[in-house]
Amino acid sequence: MGVAAVALARLRAGSFVVYGAVFALSASALALAGAHLIESGGTVLRATLPLGIPWMGAHFRLDGLSAFFLVVVNLGTAAASWYGLGYGRHEPEPARVLPFFAAFPAGMSLVLLADDAFTFLLAWEFMSLVSWALVLAHHRDAANAHAGFVYLVMASFGTLALLLAFGVLAGVDGAYVFDQMRGRRPDEALAGLALILTLVGAGSKAGVVPLHVWLPLAHPAAPSHVSALMSGIMTKVALYGFVRIVFDLMGPPVWWWSVVVLTLGGASAALGVLYALMEHDLKRLLAYHTVENIGIILIGLGLALAFRANGTDWAAALALTAALLHVLNHSLFKTLLFFGVGAVLTATGERDMEQLGGLIHRMPRTAFTFLVGAAAISALPPLNGFASEWLTFQAVLVSPQLSSWTLRFLVPAVGALLALSAALAAACFVKAVGITFLGRPRSAAASAAREVDHFSVSAMVFLAALCVVAGLFPGIVVDALATATQVALGTRVPPQIALPWLALVPIDASRSSYNALLLFLFIAASMLLTAFAIHRLASHALRRAPAWDCGYPDASPATQYTAGSFAQPIRRVFGTLVFGARDEITMPPPGDQRPARFHLHMHDLVWETLYVPIVRAVGYVALHSNRLQFLTIRKYLSVVFALLIVLLVVVVVWQ
């Protein structure tokens, strides 16, 4: 919260100071949280202020779990504010961004520190509110207004769900402090209700299918560094809420909880990436990928629940570690990718891939960092995205330990969904990188693009480097996560740091091991070796010539493959099922002058089957309840009279 105070105090001094201050504060907060995470060895700091609900006060608590998420939040914030130092200059109305940008991380950190239901929800909703204001930074665009509306309604829906969950956990006598909640053990039915409510509440903020609809609307609407925060960081705060409530506050889990969580996770992972494949707006594409990755993390959490309910805590620790590792990794590369899109946006003013292309020549640094991010999010070894997915697969492969038959069959199926989503993600990012950065420019804006300022570039390079480092030394990160898993489960995965060559061995060496460092060295070595050998022993001559293109090249960039045509095969495989996609081609007969036309019809089935009916119903009832507004006084009196009679009859009956 200090972040907000300081940054707001200095607001008048302009964007540079604000971003600078936020950077400084978040960096120092990052240092502190990181130190606590690694050094403290599980000590817990508490504080209570005479605020909030009078007879209770506001409780704060810093333990391993919150420390880890603080690291995630402040890392992203530091990067985003550094990026903003450059990117923020292009902001038309900075006054609509700066104060909220400063307050946003403050809200998120507060959520992580809160130790009672009231403070937690207050910070939670504050976070939503501030990010809503950021979504509406460019408020003239009607689409943004729509996005803001959907976002805030969904957000307060989620908050109400969480509020209900806390109400269930707190019980009749209102035990709102988390320690009291840990003390109480609600019976199974109530706990189940609380779980569902928590899932709805946290899920609507994290973007779990089918509560994800606001996400692809709201995230792109905000300025890019804010989109990065919302998509890369805020969703994680939502997941923190889930972990804190379900693992820490609620009692021992029941096996069917994990069935719900796993199903939703699998659905989000698969559907999210499919949506992303059909999307040609870069920011929306990234937002949908957030849905996918949240699904992956949720699968990890579901597995952890399953194993915990099953009593095999070491496996639960493995699954939870995988989930948390992916939390960190996703925050890294998703932030990086949004920065890249922001850079493209500043350079070309375009978010639509069909208008881009060939940017790798104009903005090489951005292109390279974006490529790294894309490789990381597509789970390619030896980058960080793969490390966490590998761990998740390992957790999936422990499933024979489970005693419940439903889970035994569900878990491999979910694993299949996981594999499918990983492969599709790779396809999607081949599209994103290939169409945006490779090939030839598809518009004048794209061909006139120029590399962005140094702040932005350095921020992206920093994150890309982190992606590589976290990928090469997963063992160290896993060790750092131990304190977090200790809080949530009371156990941890075996320490990794001592292993030879910094390998990653979650269970034991004969079972599975992964050594990113060696792999990287081998690949690099063999690359250099072959390249060197060939250049030295054979030819190294190189001739530039026009593209051959099977004999009949065409100069016009319009003949390149577009994003739409690239996704067409996959659309034909999955789209008809998921989106009711139907492409309609009108081909005039030979000799006819009319051009051939191609129309693509797609439906967002979730939206159409779930949300539209609700909107319709509300509209209908609202319209027709208006009859009551325009009665005559006599009719109003009759209503009063009728009510009186009813009440009197009630009295008579009651007596």
Binding site: P381, P412, A419, A423, V430, G434, L438, I534, P553
Partner: protein, 317 residues
């Protein structure tokens, strides 16, 4: 001890590169014979490679650095994967650094960059190639992972050496799951290494080609790298199938040089059998339409998943 095993590892690393073109040449030869041709000599692939390496590379003006780096990256990724798969000797030092899932991912990495390279020049053919490639991969990779699941759930490990040890051990019976995943893995291998009926390595007919369209712009040493990588890929799949489903005669550390020689011989024999089967299959079926490929691979995916699920049943029975 460690010295020996690392020497053996080194031998394997070189062996796979040396054998790969020969395998291709062998398959072509057998196929040609089945079609009543004489066919080119077994060594033809080597000659092609040498010729390509010595030509100078022609690169399109619109190509970026990625286009030139990709071939080496693709090659070395597949090479590392090939080096990890036990060919004639089990638990080599490398194999600790990567398990089955990593191998799948390494092949995925290679495909990722190859597809990007296809898009780099900005021609329509490259686009067709890579979009079809990723479509195939999007189904093939999960199918392969399902196979991996079945095997490693059975062996209780994703570590290839352990898998080999388990499969060659006593307590693996004939299981329906294994048969299913064997078929699945074969179909994936055919699809991934671009063989008939999924793709035709010998065609340049735009409607049918996938892999060839992607690498259309390549020439000279770059093309050589890609060709070599392709043949390595085929080798990887064959030796995977061999190592998992036919792990016999594989040398284990500490049995002396002789066992290694035996293992090498057995390995070559396995490759010969596998290559022959592949040639027969290719000669006997026709290339299918691009949009029947998904059904082919979906079948593979189903087989893999079915294998995994049946595993639970058969295991508890």
């Amino acid at each position: 001890m460690a010295v020996i095993s690392s020497v053996v590892q080194g031998v394997q690393v070189l062996l796979v590169v040396v054998l790969a073109p020969l395998l291709i040449g062998y398959v072509r030869k057998v196929r040609a014979r089945l079609l009543r041709h004489r066919g080119p000599s077994l060594l033809q692939p080597y000659r092609d490679l040498v010729r390509l390496i010595h030509k100078d590379a022609v690169v399109a003006e619109t190509a970026s650095w990625l286009f030139r780096v990709a071939p080496y990256l693709v090659f070395s990724a597949i090479w590392v994967a090939a080096a990890v798969v036990p060919s004639f000797a089990a638990d080599l030092p490398f194999s600790r650094s990567a398990d089955l899932i990593v191998i799948v991912a390494l092949l995925g990495t290679a495909r990722f960059f190859l597809a990007l390279a296809g898009l780099d020049v900005g021609t329509s053919f490259g686009g067709i190639g890579s979009s079809r490639e990723v479509m195939i991969a999007a189904l093939a990779e999960p199918a392969m992972l399902m196979v991996v699941f079945t095997v490693s759930l059975l062996a209780g490990s994703t570590q290839l050496s352990s898998v080999v040890a388990y499969m060659s051990g006593p307590d693996v019976g004939v299981r329906i799951s294994l048969a299913l995943s064997l078929f699945g893995l074969m179909m994936v291998g055919i699809a991934e290494s671009g063989r008939i009926p999924v793709d035709n390595p010998a065609t340049h007919l735009e409607l049918t080609m996938v892999h060839e369209a992607m690498v259309l712009e390549y020439s000279g040493r770059h093309l050589a790298m890609i060709e070599l990588a392709g043949s390595l890929k085929l080798l990887v799949y064959l030796s995977l199938i061999a190592a998992i489903f036919a792990p016999w005669g594989m040398a284990v550390a500490g049995q002396g040089i002789g066992s290694y020689l035996v293992g090498g011989g057995v390995y070559v024999a396995k490759l010969a059998v596998g290559g022959f089967a592949l040639a027969v299959f290719e000669a006997s079926v026709a290339k299918m339409r691009v949009f029947r490929v998904p059904q082919f691979l979906a079948m593979a995916l189903m087989l893999g998943l079915l294998g995994t699920l049946l595993l639970f049943v058969s295991r508890t029975l």
